[in-house]
């Protein structure tokens, strides 16, 4: 398959992203015609017939889904690059299990029922704590740092998952709440969550995209990167911290959603090649748009109860990915 030029594919991704956002606003129990959506979106201060549905219900959820999808896809692309490991995803260094532990605590001790900000706060603290822990373990262990980071992350993930399972086992009454959170959902979306993502995650993604070029030589090998003037240790740590930050925020607001962070970067690379600046920029819009599609299906599939969005992301995404993989010869050595 011939690779598509970077600028061309980024432009296509942006158009895809914008169209997905606009169309998904119209989909739901109340269907809103396309021109009414545009009219509402262009006049945010006039209260038209669909004002509350669009501005209070659908838009915060759609924007949160798009920001989370973008963050996970970017984080996955960066993790795969800096660890030179195609199987890496945003959760590989234990962020998700740390967040899960925090969220489970919040649910079981009843904090999440007191205030809607407690659960995301504890989940984020769990994710951030795990990131710091992994970085410390990797720094003070001997041998190659990147492998140690992956192994430390894996070890901590398993350890925290065991604690979460134990807590769930002890607290049967909260089982469903915890389980539902673990599968990921945007049903609790708030404008405040959207603002926090815009303030922290968007700048982080811009920095990752700007410095993305440094990941190219790291992906070939550390000696290569050093000899091209990149301080591998320093820049890997910077990439690791920023992508853990956006992963932690995403997990805090939406739970653990699989597939997007692992596969979207691969789909983008199959189309454009591994040039990281292009991969990161396209992943923002493809990941964001894809998450909005999956969430739109999740919230409209069943009127009585929503499907967890993580199920949809994998059910639709994996066949698409496998199809592209079969068409592409020599994508992976």
């Amino acid at each position: 398959m011939k690779k598509m030029g970077g600028i061309k594919f980024i432009s296509i991704s942006v158009i895809f992203f914008i169209l997905v956002i606009i169309f998904s606003v119209g989909i739901g129990p109340v269907q809103i015609p396309f021109f009414d959506i545009l009219k509402e979106l262009l006049n945010p201060y006039e209260s038209g017939p669909y004002h509350i549905i669009i501005w209070e219900l659908r838009l915060p959820r759609i924007l949160l889904a798009s920001l989370v999808g973008a963050s996970l896809a970017v984080s996955g692309a960066v993790m795969q690059g800096i660890f030179r490991n195609p199987l890496s995803d945003p959760y590989i260094t234990g962020t998700a299990s740390g967040a899960a532990l925090g969220a489970t605590f919040a649910i079981i001790i009843g904090l999440s029922a007191l205030n809607m900000y407690f659960l995301p706060l504890l989940a984020f603290l769990g994710a951030a704590g795990t990131t710091v822990l992994v970085a410390i373990i990797a720094t003070y262990s001997s041998g190659p740092k990147s492998e140690n980071m992956l192994l430390a992350g894996l070890g901590i993930s398993i350890f925290f998952s065991a604690i979460v399972s134990y807590l769930m086992y002890l607290n049967g009454k909260d089982l469903q709440t915890v389980f539902y959170w673990l599968m990921g959902s945007f049903s609790g979306a708030q404008w405040d969550f959207v603002y926090i993502m815009i303030i922290f995650a968007v700048p982080a993604m811009i920095v990752l995209a700007l410095f993305g070029r440094d990941i190219d030589p790291i992906m070939i090998g550390e000696e290569h990167a050093y000899s091209l003037g990149i301080d591998v240790k320093e820049s890997r740590l910077m990439f690791f911290i920023l992508s853990s930050l956006i992963t932690g925020l995403s997990v805090a607001f939406s739970g653990i959603i699989g597939f997007v962070g692992l596969i979207i970067p691969h789909i983008v690379r199959i189309i454009t090649g591994p040039n990281n600046r292009v991969v990161i920029l396209s992943s923002i819009f493809i990941g964001g748009g894809y998450m909005v599609i999956a969430d739109t299906i999740a919230r409209s599939f069943n009127i009585i109860e929503e499907l967890p969005v993580g199920i949809i992301t994998s059910l639709i995404g994996v066949p698409v990915f496998l199809y592209l993989l079969m068409r592409e010869k020599g994508y992976w050595r």
Binding site: K3, R84, P86, S142, L210, F211, R213, D214, D216, P217, M219, I220, G221, E222, E223, H224, Y226, S227, L228, G229, I230, D231, R269, G273, P274, N275, G330, Y331, W332, R333
Partner: protein, 259 residues
């Protein structure tokens, strides 16, 4: 010019390099020879600053290596590491264009001048026709030339190569060494580790023979390679064969006759 004085490097309390000293002038090819595990790759990695030395000094163009920033060093020293297939399928053009990264700012895209330098490097190494191919689908010899092209595109004054001819058939070995000789004729200083003593005799202007992390002999091939030094370094007996002009031509190892 590279000058090394009393260089010491140890890893996990094992002394790998012990008081290495030598000096390489501009436009020379230094071949670093020695048995497996003698410290050739380590020496190259210490010289290009990937590994931090434990003692001694390294002077690059008369200035201590630690005075250079990573990026400054990358503008005067190119490196071609040991061959391996990258896991991600960058195109040959993308790989060679990475040689321009040390010269670019964060936001700065490749200029037409950069592109000209890249195309030039591709042509010099005979890889121009491969430019759109993936690095994962070309042969070992082609891959080695692509990484040399990247070092050329980096436009450094010195190039370090770690076993550039290993795993290559004899034709590719000669091709690579001819490219390296061409670079020297354009004024580049070359340091390369090698296994093939005979090719080193033919192409290097200086040879450093390393044994157990120490310099056993340093100088022109004529001065360094003899029956005695080869026996100490590699533990084999060899016969020096001279050509018509009575210059050293190659060394013919004797069989062990153990069986």
């Amino acid at each position: 010019m590279i000058e090394i004085n009393d260089l010491v490097f140890s890893y996990n309390r094992n002394l790998i390099l012990n008081k290495i000293s030598f000096k390489v002038e501009d436009a020379e090819i230094l071949g670093i020879l020695g048995p497996n595990g003698s410290g050739k790759t380590t020496l190259l990695n210490v010289i290009n600053g990937i590994l931090k030395k434990d003692g001694g000094e390294i002077l690059i163009k008369g200035k201590k290596i630690e005075k250079y920033s990573r990026k400054e060093l990358a503008r005067i020293m190119g490196v071609v590491p040991q061959d391996m297939v990258p896991a991600f399928d960058f195109s040959v053009f993308e790989i060679v264009s990475m040689g321009r990264y040390p010269h670019l700012g964060i936001m700065e895209p490749l200029s037409t001048k950069d592109e000209k330098i890249i195309f030039d490097a591709l042509k010099k190494t005979g890889t121009f026709d491969l430019k759109n191919k993936s690095i994962t689908e070309i042969s070992g010899g082609e891959r080695q030339r692509v990484f040399i092209a990247r070092a050329i595109a980096q436009d450094p004054e010195m190039i370090l190569l770690d076993e550039p001819t290993s795993n290559l058939d004899i034709r590719y070995q000669i091709e690579i060494l001819e490219i390296i000789e061409q670079m020297r004729s354009r004024g580049k200083t070359i340091l390369m580790s090698m296994h093939d003593v005979n090719l080193a005799i033919r192409y290097c202007t200086k040879i450093a023979l390393i044994h157990n992390g120490e310099i056993l002999a340093f100088g022109e091939p004529e001065e360094v390679i003899n029956e005695n030094s080869i026996e100490i370094a590699y533990g084999i007996k060899g016969k020096i064969v001279r050509n018509g002009g009575n210059k050293i031509a190659y060394i013919l190892p004797e069989k062990f006759n153990r069986f």
